[in-house]
Symmetry: C2
Subunit: 411 residues, 2 copies
């Protein structure tokens, strides 16, 4: 094996194209990439063409242009949006194009910017991107998110190192947690997603009424929606492709009940949100709604987010991740949800996933809500699991079954 | 004046926003930029916001992804196109967004690629981008093209220097020919466009029947369309903005007659086309049509281009540029039409400009053709002027008036 960085990046791109997005024969591909991730985006384009794609288009985004807006744009202009870009995404998806997103945000890009402008920008984006998000969450086509190391992100994680060392360490960590160091990464991913599927099948068979999280600062009952379905690992898109929406992925997840979440919970890792870090989140829920919200850092940004709409204070996802996951074992705090949510069990404020509710496509919004399915413009994961957190399943007749102890599956 | 590069680039961006695209109060702006031109694109975004733009969106393009397609895509897939990007441009323009293009092509990007694939790609692009091109050439909104130095381009021009020196020399040349070294570049541009306007007014008053080019390898009569209008320098867009479509710009230009071009002509500078260099072009025209086409280098690419459609072998532009223009005086061959066309008088194969025909918007395509207006999917300029070329104007009654001698205006 040629282990030079260039060869490794090509291999990573090949796995992302073949196993991640699960490119269909001749299928067109849209890559969404930050400018800083150009080396990976170009490799993905090459590997997609080599795998037979008829056309690869890259939708580039630039954080520096976004930052210039915060610094210099008229203060009353933050409800403007580049709708043409979403139109393009929707058109591409409706023509059957697969979507490969590169995640490489600078976690502190917006740390000095006005939270009110951040809130307005994010709300506007949520409103405009809804047709895109709906297609993604309902798996209209195959899609996948893969990470790329960038200098801004790497310097956040490894502040003491030189830039070259930072980038090398972050890429090494990415390759490790995405199983690229296995002898046959494609086979390793197939085995891994099969094992997640077993866990999904087990949990679907149990049909729990609720989960109970207990740990330091946490005693939380998360009711599950009627007809909730567990999912995890690979997903089956409507076009027949099997894709892995997130690389890395270690979670199994389902739909909480929007009106049945009770108790209090404390975050176990920082949440990186719109360029801000939110740490030490403490929330108390009553009848599914967050009624007390606090944070040691970034409280205003969090509260603004939860003011987006009625559903933003309720849960749309609950996910179980063992404390021994490769991401967790790396010991690295990535400041990026794609990683950190795969190091710990978590919940998400906001919109639930249609794939996690039985027969959701035949149900009206009202019918879904009655079953406990939550709707919102936002979907924000935050981490509540650790090596000190236990999880029980509560059956329909109130029986308590241990699922996780000290962060690990009991069986 | 702070003459550090960063400050100079900011000034250049400010001039491009205020004088080049002529941003209207609060107007939205779309920047089209190659990835390599990110430093300028970001400055343009900053300066546009500082000038009051409500929203700046950047439509990024990447040559490396384009090259990956030539290398690896299925050979029968070159009629695919990212239509979503053109949709976005058209939508933005129809909403009144100004357009600022950054020109920074690597002139030899495609030198090793199959001319047939290049032809197919370019024809497909011409077909899909027609709604965009029509809006640009009819000045539906204000627009401007500005250059940016990139390593690939700079190394072509100054092969003997180090990369750092190459970039510095090319930026210095760009700043020089775009009048950025004047004490007040905005005032200098206003004076320059006023002087081009005087030349335009003079030529419009003369109402020549034809121009006659004479020089080494050239004896060419270029008939002018009935109702031809001369243009140059600044343009007035339909939204009321005054913009400078090309920076630099030194030309005055008008519409040739599609059926009345006679004689032979030899190019005086290489033409950079789709990543190929075409040198030593020799063409003979009969009744407006190129009937003999040759080139010392790149002949196949040229011939493929001229096979695009019926109008591709006829002329859509004739332009006069004095041999003493700043671009010509720089002594640099830029391998880029935006520059090289401003160093020499030139003609263009293909589509004519509506702004250069009286009342064109009220005329049908057939009526325009009768007046001599040429239509085509292509518009490709090539240089035929030099310090050894004379130009005469031929009046409606056959009188010959000297316009240029040895490449300079006679008055």
């Amino acid at each position: 094996m040629d282990d030079s960085f260039d060869a490794m990046l090509s291999r990573f791109a090949e796995v992302a194209v073949k196993v991640g997005v699960g490119l269909l024969p001749g299928q067109k591909l849209m890559i969404r990439s930050p400018l800083e991730a150009a080396p990976l985006a170009r490799k993905l384009a090459e590997e997609a063409y080599k795998a037979g794609s008829r056309f690869v288009t890259v939708n580039w985004l630039d954080e520096q242009v976004a930052l210039a807006r915060y610094k210099y744009a008229p203060r009353d202009s933050f409800e403007e949006f580049d709708a043409w870009r979403v139109d393009g995404l929707v058109r591409a998806i409706d023509e059957g194009t697969g979507v490969l997103n590169i995640s490489a945000d600078n976690p502190t890009l917006l740390k000095d910017q006005d939270p009110e402008l951040i809130r307005k920008t994010s709300q506007t984006a949520s409103r405009y991107t809804k047709p895109y998000i709906e297609r993604i969450t309902s798996f209209a086509v195959n899609w996948c998110i893969v990470p790329a190391a960038t200098p801004a992100w790497a310097s956040q994680i490894f502040p003491a190192l030189t830039q070259e060392e930072q980038m090398k360490k972050l890429w090494d960590a990415i390759f490790e947690v995405t199983r690229m160091n296995e002898k046959d990464p494609v086979a390793a991913w197939k085995a891994h997603t099969a094992s997640l599927q077993e866990r999904v099948n087990f949990l679907n068979a149990r049909r729990y009424k609720a989960l109970h999280f207990k740990g330091p600062g946490t005693d939380l009952i998360v009711g599950l929606a009627d007809g909730h379905l567990w999912a995890g690992g690979a997903g089956k898109a409507k076009n027949g492709s099997t894709c892995i929406p997130n690389m890395p992925t270690e979670e199994v997840f389902t739909t909480p009940h929007r009106s049945y979440v009770e108790g209090y919970v404390t975050s176990t890792k920082p949440l990186s949100l719109h360029g801000n870090l939110i740490e030490g989140i403490r929330v108390r829920f009553e009848q599914g709604k967050a009624v007390e919200i606090g944070a040691d850092k970034g409280e205003t940004v969090l509260k603004n987010l939860l003011d987006t709409d009625e559903g933003a204070k309720r849960l749309g996802e609950v996910a179980l991740v063992p404390h021994s996951s490769p991401v967790s074992k790396s010991g690295i705090l990535f400041y990026d949800t794609l990683f950190d949510e795969n190091a710990a069990s978590h919940i998400a404020f906001g919109r639930a996933y249609d794939e996690c509710l039985e027969g959701s496509t035949e149900l009206s919004a009202g019918q879904k809500a009655t079953k406990g399915f939550n709707d919102s413009l936002i979907h924000t994961d935050w981490m509540i699991g650790s090596g000190q957190v236990d999880v029980d399943g509560i059956s329909q007749n109130g029986q308590v079954e241990p699922l996780m102890r000290a962060g690990e599956w009991v069986s």
